[in-house]
């Protein structure tokens, strides 16, 4: 190739790159760009879509306005890949000028995104990446990773204990007698989430004197569970407890559990992550235990019907519902910042987060899922767990809707043991 042509080709490549870099727009005076993360592409894009829809509704509720600022959402696609997630965040911060971020899904993506937020000193709120690695990183270098201000979901261990307590309460209350003694089998998807959640369940049951007869993990996209279920059947545990975040996997598990003829109580944590689960599982989900917040209040019901009519699918409380609330909380933080400092800058927002959110002064009570979203110096980056605050009740499904069976003070119905 002649040198001239090489130069032409090189220039073409360079200009392609430069064009890619173009379109950098600074922030105009009264525009505030809010980064909203989520797995918009990749294997769990369904969750990403719920995030996007719910966040849009939360923004519409305030008419995209906080004071005289116009709020523009910037969608930060984490694509279920730490490399892509961190790149998308950096691009959103530098290229598109977001000054605050909220929501995310995977813990591994969160770990890769944390230093990016820290480097640019852009506070990021309420990532749902929940496992301990996020907490570890947060605590390791709070000067940098502390810009990953607060998680939207506590570590699974903190959430998982009610299952054991609930079963114990059913036994004590006489509504349940274990068929095969205090035996439990554990199952779960082979992911960070699956391992940490089932680990917590296992610990809880063990501490209550139960025997774990087996634990089985499967790939997140596995839809043939007959081997596991038949094995469980031969081991005769009274309870089988586990989790999966993938609806196709979860629905196959529950349907096949019925097909195989298991007579154990089935704890399927995360069945309600997808609002439409009943269309996939059907009556096989009757009697299944799960821990899900519910769309209980009239405001929540209103949200559900609006969501359904606009986006054509059933929202899930834990994805769309929580995303709606956490976005609302973000807007509240913005409002508070504006009131306190008069302008919305990353720095001011960070200060509000540090001084008011972490201390528990600033809480959010206008949500549709939880009574109050609150943090405390002891809990951060996790939200405060407990009655009246962030809590997932244990619910039992019948006909596609869940009813709270535990804790007793909020229960809507009694636990029904499978026949």
């Amino acid at each position: 190739m002649s040198r001239g042509r090489l130069v032409v080709v090189a220039l073409a490549a360079l200009s392609l790159m430069a064009v890619s870099c173009g379109g950098t727009s600074g922030t105009t005076q009264q525009e505030f760009k809010l980064g909203i993360g989520g797995p918009y592409t990749g294997p769990v894009a369904k969750t990403g879509a719920e995030f996007q829809h719910a966040a849009t509704m939360a923004l519409e509720k305030v008419n995209y306005k906080i004071g005289n600022y116009k709020i523009t959402p910037v969608w930060v696609d984490e694509a279920s890949d730490p490399a892509k997630a961190s790149s998308a965040l950096e691009d959103a911060i530098v290229g598109k000028g977001i000054q605050m971020g909220c929501l995310n899904w995977h813990s591994s993506d969160a770990v890769a995104m944390m230093p990016v937020a820290g480097r640019h000193k852009v506070p990021y709120f309420f990532g749902m990446g929940a496992t301990g690695v996020v907490n570890d990183n947060f605590n390791k270098d709070r000067a940098v990773n502390g810009y990953w201000m607060a998680k939207g979901w506590p570590t699974p261990q903190k959430l998982a204990t009610p299952y054991g307590d609930a079963i114990q309460a059913f036994i004590d209350g006489g509504s349940y007698t274990p068929k095969h003694g205090k035996t439990v089998a554990i199952w779960g998807e082979d992911t960070d989430w699956g391992h940490s959640l089932t680990g917590a369940i296992k610990d809880k049951f063990t501490s209550l004197g139960w025997t774990v007869v087996d634990s089985q993990f499967f790939k997140i996209d596995a839809t043939d569970h007959h081997t596991i279920l038949n094995k469980f059947k031969s081991e005769q545990p009274s309870i089988i407890a586990g989790t999966s975040t993938a609806p196709e996997t979860m629905s196959a598990f529950i349907k096949q559990a019925k097909e195989v003829g298991l007579d154990s109580v089935l704890i399927a944590d995360g069945l309600g992550y997808v609002g439409d689960f009943y269309k996939l599982v059907g009556s096989a989900s009757d009697g299944v235990l799960d821990m899900q917040p519910l769309f209980a209040s009239p405001a929540a019901q209103q949200f559900v019907s609006t969501y359904k009519s606009r986006f054509g699918s059933e929202p899930s409380p834990s994805a769309a519902g929580l995303a709606y609330d956490w976005t609302g909380f973000c807007l509240k933080i913005l409002k508070r910042t504006l009131d306190k400092y008069g302008s919305l800058t990353s720095d001011n927002i960070y200060k509000v987060g540090r001084d008011e959110l972490w201390t528990g002064q600033l809480t959010y009570t206008d949500g549709i899922i939880m009574n109050e979203y609150k943090f405390s110096p002891d809990s951060i980056p996790d939200p405060v767990i407990g009655k009246g605050e962030y809590i997932f009740p244990v619910i039992q499904y019948k006909g596609g809707t869940g009813q709270i069976v535990f804790p007793p003070d909020v229960k809507q119905t009694n636990f029904t043991a499978p026949a």
Binding site: M1, S2, R5, L6, V9, A10, A13, L14, L16, M17, A18, V19, S20, C21, G22, G23, T24, Y40, T41, A45, G48, V74, W75, D77, A79, S80, D81, P82, A83, K84, S86, S87, A88, E90, D91, A92, I93, V94, G95, K96, S107, S108, V111, A112, P115, G118, R119, H120, T131, G132, V133, D136, N137, V144, D190, T191, D192, G194, H195, S196
Partner: protein, 341 residues
């Protein structure tokens, strides 16, 4: 060596440009510097991938698994033995090299698609093992990895990965221009003729696999210490596909072609991802279509385009004729007795 470098003055110019690029607008913004880091990393991987695909004509479809294994080894050595990252990276090189060697041995008898798929399955098995030996790797929970710098800029990372890419290129290029490189091309282009000419395909194929995987693992270690998190998904097929796309768009058998393709590829896909965020997935549709179009209409890729033009010049008689005094026909006796003793 001087000659080796002089022949690479084009490379020098390109390198200088790449070194200066993150300092000039618009590339000096952090997000573009990150894109440059991603590009250089992908370029390095694409070079190592092409070293196998473009020379011995075996597509290592398990490539990401070897790169990931290197990352894990380096991360674990840093975490458990507290060695400096620069040192522990070589643990990654060694582990990936050993795995590459074993893969080379296991897939020795396969050609073409069988070799590709065998490497793919080995990579998937490796991924599965990484996921399952969670006491060591923390499995899907993810391993938090110490980073190179505690700096708040991508710039030092960029120069590190650029240097690593350059070393990868220079070493592998030197190998391909050596005696071994001749053997690689021979067994890649015609196994029968290569063997009839005395090339031992076994030895060179294993050598090639080992070297390629060593560099893949080295760059994998960079990945680990840059993103600070490792999950078994770094070994997934989709990661191999990214490297493969860069290598095929760049053109096989040149090493520089894939590297050159990586930069515009990363920039255009990241740009699409960033600007078409209203249509999640559209960027990937464009990217897939581009791959299909190039493969259908110009399967040789970018390097082939350059080669085609250069080769036409090569074939013109008279041009580039060597000037050394040539022996004349008829001196056969002399030639061949030299040959024999």
């Amino acid at each position: 060596m001087t000659a080796f470098l002089w022949r690479r003055r084009g490379l020098g110019v390109a390198l200088l440009a790449l070194a200066v690029l993150p300092l000039v607008p618009p590339f000096d913004a952090e997000n573009f510097r990150r894109w440059l880091v991603i590009s250089a990393l992908l370029a390095g991987w694409a070079i190592a991938f092409d070293f196998t695909a473009g020379y011995i004509n075996v597509v290592n479809f398990g490539f990401a698994a070897f790169a990931g294994a290197g990352g894990y080894a380096s991360a674990l050595v840093t975490i458990h033995y507290g060695l400096p990252i620069w040192v522990s990276m070589f643990a990654g090189v060694i582990l990936a090299g050993i795995l590459g060697f074993l893969t080379g041995v296991l897939t020795l008898r396969f050609r073409g698609i069988y070799a590709a798929v065998a490497a793919w399955f080995l990579g998937l098995a490796l991924l599965g093992i990484t996921r399952n030996v969670s006491p060591i790797t923390r499995g899907p929970l993810g391993l938090i990895v110490p980073t190179f710098f505690s700096t708040d800029s991508n710039l030092p990372y960029y120069y590190v990965v650029l240097a690593m890419m350059l070393v990868t290129y220079l070493v592998l290029k030197a190998v391909t221009e050596s005696r071994a490189g001749l053997a690689f091309r021979a067994i890649g282009q015609n196994m029968e003729a290569a063997r009839a000419s005395g090339v031992n395909p076994t030895r060179y194929r294993i050598l090639n696999f080992t070297l390629s995987c060593m560099f893949a693992g080295w760059l994998g270690a960079f990945y680990a210490h840059y993103y600070a998190i490792l999950t078994p998904d770094v070994m997934a097929t989709s990661q191999t596909v990214q490297v493969l796309v860069a290598a095929y768009l760049g053109g096989r058998g040149s090493l520089w072609g894939p590297a050159a393709a990586a930069f515009p590829l990363v920039f255009s896909t990241e740009w699409l991802r960033s600007n078409l965020d209203r249509f999640p997935g559209l960027d990937l549709v464009v990217y897939g279509l581009a791959l299909i179009l190039v493969m259908v209409y110009y399967p040789g890729g970018f390097a082939e385009l350059v080669h085609a033009i250069r080769d036409r010049r090569l074939r013109l008689p008279g041009l580039r004729m060597r000037t050394a005094a040539a022996p004349q026909p008829g001196e056969a006796g002399a030639v061949l007795s030299d040959v024999r003793e």
